[in-house]
């Protein structure tokens, strides 16, 4: 099946999210859509999947024009989409999930689960998916859940598969397996549109690369194009992908965590007796696939989550039972993984956001009144210092781009009197330019003798910043290794295999 998008334009108000984008997808081709967040990739795919209606342009399948009023019609036309967040019911089996919405029925309208099982088995065998139709979703690893999503699309005869950032939740090994599956599918004639911002994966698997920037197709590239070149195309200027840093000058052991155990909201043990120390002037990076307890670990250190057992010390002070305010006042800075939820108040101005955790005393407050003059001075200073691109300090935080929002958080946390910096996914959803800047700031903090802990699921980031790397798997550290450890070995550790 051949897909052709012709001059697709989609506007939201004055913003042109897709500006006359044209592309063709040949049968069995793996086409990679590369672009930064907000470049218009998702909008384009939502148009293709019938979730959005284009303002101009046509969708042609086998040279026949199609109009999709909704995902149902797109599916019927042979288009399948695997969202990054799986649309699966955890307590149902694989077979039940796959047939959900178009269940095979017996003579009297009863659910024919045997037919469902057979369908799953058949697809699974054909592509080597190795999925048990009777396994419950909640018992499957993330990689397998993703395969179930793919089976779901294939079960509806999808000839074109859209994968939206499919590797974000996978270990490096699972990513490799996914690449294999993609190649297998394409050999069997299924075309794939692979959306990502990870250059390495694009180079590995794509037949053709289309780079989208600010709603326009800026270039078509072959997978042989170098990573640096691809990044430049994506961003629109030269990009330096490496962070240079000098050797660590180690100081006192400022952060000491002992036998820490933390439960999540459902009383599941998410952190399982972890111990580690981090010294001044050092960056410890905690690597691992999302959901292995990193979030809970960071929240526990900050006092956002109750500690079940164990202890936390910062500069000799016990913070095990402290609340967030006490932890902050002890000199801990925190860059949360989800800035919109935990790091910023979107409806507040930049100046207000810069004093979010500073309302209890100087320099932002005089008694119980806000010191507006001071606040505006500090805001002006930080906006300059941290290169926050905004028309003014009174612009609302939600109006900034992701990268600039993150700079607001970084500026606030780093401008306090800091001993320890905990940065969780510091560059998630941030444009390449801001990534460079934030990385430099983190290294600068370390060089100024601060204790730094980075939590990141991106190996590139871990390798760029870390002095030591701890790999977290199911609430434990698989090991703490030095920064020169190979990508392959770290990948294995992320899957729980000790070094």
């Amino acid at each position: 099946m051949k897909l052709e998008l012709k001059n697709i334009t989609k506007r939201f108000g004055t913003l042109v999210a897709n500006d006359s984008i044209s592309l063709t997808l040949k049968p069995g081709e793996i086409l990679s859509l590369l672009g930064e967040n907000g470049a218009g990739k998702s909008t384009l795919m939502n148009v293709l999947y019938g979730l959005l209606q284009p303002d101009e342009g046509q969708i042609l399948i086998d040279d026949k024009e199609q109009k999709f009023a909704g995902p149902g019609e797109a599916m019927a036309a042979g288009i399948g989409m695997v969202h990054q967040h799986f649309m699966l019911i955890p307590v149902f089996t694989v077979a039940e999930n796959v047939v959900l919405g178009h269940e095979p029925t017996g003579k009297v309208g009863n659910l024919d689960l045997n037919a469902a099982r057979k369908l799953v088995k058949e697809i699974s065998d054909r592509f080597g998916f190795d999925i048990d139709p009777d396994a419950k979703i909640q018992d499957l690893p993330v990689g397998a859940q993703q395969r179930v999503e793919i089976i779901k699309s294939l079960a509806r005869d999808a000839k074109i598969l859209v994968l939206d950032e499919p590797t974000a939740v996978l270990t490096p090994q699972e990513t490799d397996e996914l690449m294999e599956i993609m190649r297998g599918l394409s050999k069997n004639g299924t075309s794939i549109i692979f959306i990502t911002h990870k250059l390495r994966e694009v180079q590995q698997v794509a037949d053709r690369i289309i780079v989208i920037r600010q709603g326009k197709v800026v270039s078509e590239a072959s997978p042989k194009t170098s990573a640096g070149e691809l990044a430049s195309l994506m961003v629109g200027r030269e990009v330096d992908l490496s962070t240079s840093k000098s050797a660590a000058k180690l100081g006192a052991e400022t952060l000491v965590v002992k036998d820490l155990t933390v439960l999540d909201d459902r009383n599941q043990q998410m952190v399982n007796g972890i111990s580690f120390t981090v010294q001044d002037g050092e960056i410890l990076a905690i690597a691992g696939v999302q959901g292995n307890g990193q979030t809970e670990l960071a929240e526990a250190i900050l006092g956002l989550r109750k500690i079940h057992s164990g202890s936390i010390q910062v500069a000799g002070k016990d913070l095990t039972k402290s609340n967030v305010r006490q932890v902050l006042e002890a000199g801990v800075g925190y860059i949360p993984e989800d800035r919109k939820k935990d790091g910023l108040v979107g409806e507040f101005t930049i100046a207000e956001n810069l004093m979010l955790d500073g309302s209890f005393g100087k320099p932002f407050a005089k008694g119980s009144q806000i010191d507006f003059a001071q606040r505006d001075d500090i805001a002006a200073k930080l906006i300059k210092e941290f290169d926050i691109r905004t028309p003014s300090a009174s612009t609302l935080a939600k109006q900034l781009s992701g990268g600039n929002q993150q700079k607001v958080v970084v500026a606030r946390e780093m401008s306090r009197d800091l001993k320890v910096l905990i940065a969780s996914q510091p560059t998630r959803g941030v444009d390449v330019g801001s990534i460079e800047f934030i990385h430099e700031q983190i290294v600068a903090a370390r060089d100024a003798g601060k204790t730094v802990v980075i939590i990141s699921t991106e190996l590139d980031e871990v390798l760029a910043l870390a002095d030591r790397i701890a790999v977290m798997y199911r609430g434990r550290f698989v090991g703490i290794v030095d920064a020169k450890t190979t990508r392959e070995k770290l990948g294995k550790m992320m899957a729980g295999i000790a070094a």
């Binding site: 939201f12 108000g13 004055t14 913003l15 967040n37 907000g38 998702s42 969202h83 990054q84 967040h85 939206d164 950032e165 974000a168 939740v169 959306i195 911002h197 600010q214 999302q290 900050l302 956002l304 609340n323 967030v324 305010r325 932890v327 902050l328 006042e329 925190y334 949360p336 989800d338 919109k340 939820k341 935990d342 790091g343 910023l344 108040v345 979107g346 409806e347 507040f348 004093m355 979010l356 955790d357 309302s359 209890f360 407050a365 119980s368 009144q369 806000i370 691109r389 905004t390 028309p391 612009t395 939600k398 109006q399 900034l400 781009s401 992701g402 600039n404 998630r428 959803g429 941030v430």
Partner: protein, 414 residues
């Protein structure tokens, strides 16, 4: 990376109820103005449709269509004209005093609405949908009645103590809501509704007890004595006007609310919790305690409104002296977009409705038309799509909204 983006794409579906509530609570001035206008327009339709003269004129429509149509105009002019002369200035008055008296009446009616409205507005800005001003006022009323009828004190001091008692009682009542929410997660909407009923029964019970609030030679009616003269809110401009010290309390409330929400660190934290409780928590703020404080201070404003009601009337007090203000306060806060100036203007509008309804009745227009107008305004504010459809405004869907922001951000980067 784009996990966030995905989540954001889903958010509008997931949090639809919350989003709508936020849209309603953070009033957009244009939409509110249009809602008021539309309310008046439909109110006019009611006035015309049920007017005897209009009906008669239309029976003879064939013979004199001009007359029929101009009757419509005259009816509307008479009705809303009466509202104007009853609430702002009476141009037909024979003296200056009686010409401006309508406006002072509007102020008198507006004062408690503004005070209670500020209380509700405060909780809106902390993200609490508080509809318990009625109950808080009733309990405050009980406090004011007790002090003003049972205790003896010098003039002025008696009044101040009675006011304080009303505020304190209301605050305690409000804190119950905050406590239940903070400790058990009980939803404030349900708790406040239920506590309104509890307060009504409780205060009625207190009013029946001879040892507590019941009037001296009282019988079966739950009614108190008249407040002592020493505790009454004195008249501001002499006997020509009914305007009393309640207005001063209202002005002080407005100044305090403005300082609290816009200038103080407390207000900063209140607003932070209102917009994003999880960011507030990460910034070291005890969100649960903030709920308790916000409910208490909010109820304090309702308590002031209750004191205004209790200490300004003659002929003994019953629960009906609450006069529906606690409920109107929600509307006032919504209408005012929870901002200081907005609440003042909304309170004045509703005060004008109350002041003008008598003259409307004299002019032969049922004052219930105003009830319809009031209810319609709330309805339109609560249902933005109606207003958008009526005035053909573009729908600010979440995507358009986000896109507009992205566009702005993109401009900034360039």
């Amino acid at each position: 990376m784009s996990k966030k983006k995905d989540l954001d794409a889903l958010k509008p579906e997931q949090d639809k109820a919350t989003r709508v509530l936020h849209e309603i609570m953070s009033g957009d001035p244009v939409r509110i103005a249009l809602s008021i206008l539309l309310g008046f327009i439909i109110g006019a339709v009611f006035m015309v449709a049920f007017d005897k003269n209009v009906i008669k004129a239309f029976e003879d429509f064939g013979s004199d269509p001009n007359y029929a149509l101009s009757t419509i105009w005259w009816t509307i002019q008479d009705g809303y004209g009466a509202l104007f002369s009853g609430s702002i200035i009476n141009f037909g008055a024979d003296s200056f005093i009686s010409a401006i008296r309508p406006f002072t009446e509007t102020l008198r009616f507006a004062a408690p609405l503004i005070m209670a409205g500020l209380g509700v507005a405060l909780t809106f800005r902390v993200g609490l949908f508080n509809i318990g001003a009625t109950g808080q006022m009733l309990v405050g009323l009980a406090g004011a009645i007790f002090v003003s009828t049972r205790l003896q004190m010098p003039i002025i001091i008696h009044m101040l103590v009675a006011v304080l008692a009303a505020v304190a009682c209301a605050m305690l009542w409000g804190m119950i809501v905050g406590f239940l929410k903070a400790r058990t997660g009980a939803h404030e909407v349900i708790v406040t509704i239920m506590l309104n009923y509890v307060a009504l029964s409780l205060v009625t019970y207190l009013l029946r007890e001879p040892n507590l609030l019941l009037e001296e030679n009282g019988g079966g009616t739950p009614k108190s004595d008249n407040p002592d003269g020493t505790a009454r809110l004195g008249l501001l401009f002499g006997p020509d006007f009914q305007l009393h010290y309640g207005l001063i309390f209202a002005v002080l409330s407005v100044v305090f609310y403005w300082w609290l929400m816009d200038k103080s660190t407390f207000g900063f934290r209140f607003r932070m919790v209102g917009h994003n409780p999880s960011a507030a928590r990460a910034a070291g703020i005890k969100v649960e305690n903030t709920f308790i404080w916000a409910m208490a201070i909010s109820a304090g404003f309702s308590g002031l409104a209750a004191a205004n009601q209790a200490l300004s009337v003659d002929g003994g007090l019953t629960t009906s002296n609450e006069a529906g203000i606690g409920f109107d306060a929600i509307t006032v806060a919504l209408l005012g977009g929870s901002r200081t100036g907005g609440v003042v203007m909304a309170g004045m509008l509703f005060g004008a409705f109350k002041a003008g309804s008598a003259t409307m009745q004299v002019a032969g227009v049922s004052p219930e038309v105003l009830g319809v107008v009031k209810a319609l305004i709330v309805l339109f504010i609560a249902a933005p799509p109606i207003i958008r459809a009526f005035y053909r405004l573009p729908a600010p869907g979440p995507k358009v909204f986000e896109a507009a922001q992205k566009a702005k951000a993109a401009k900034v980067i360039k």
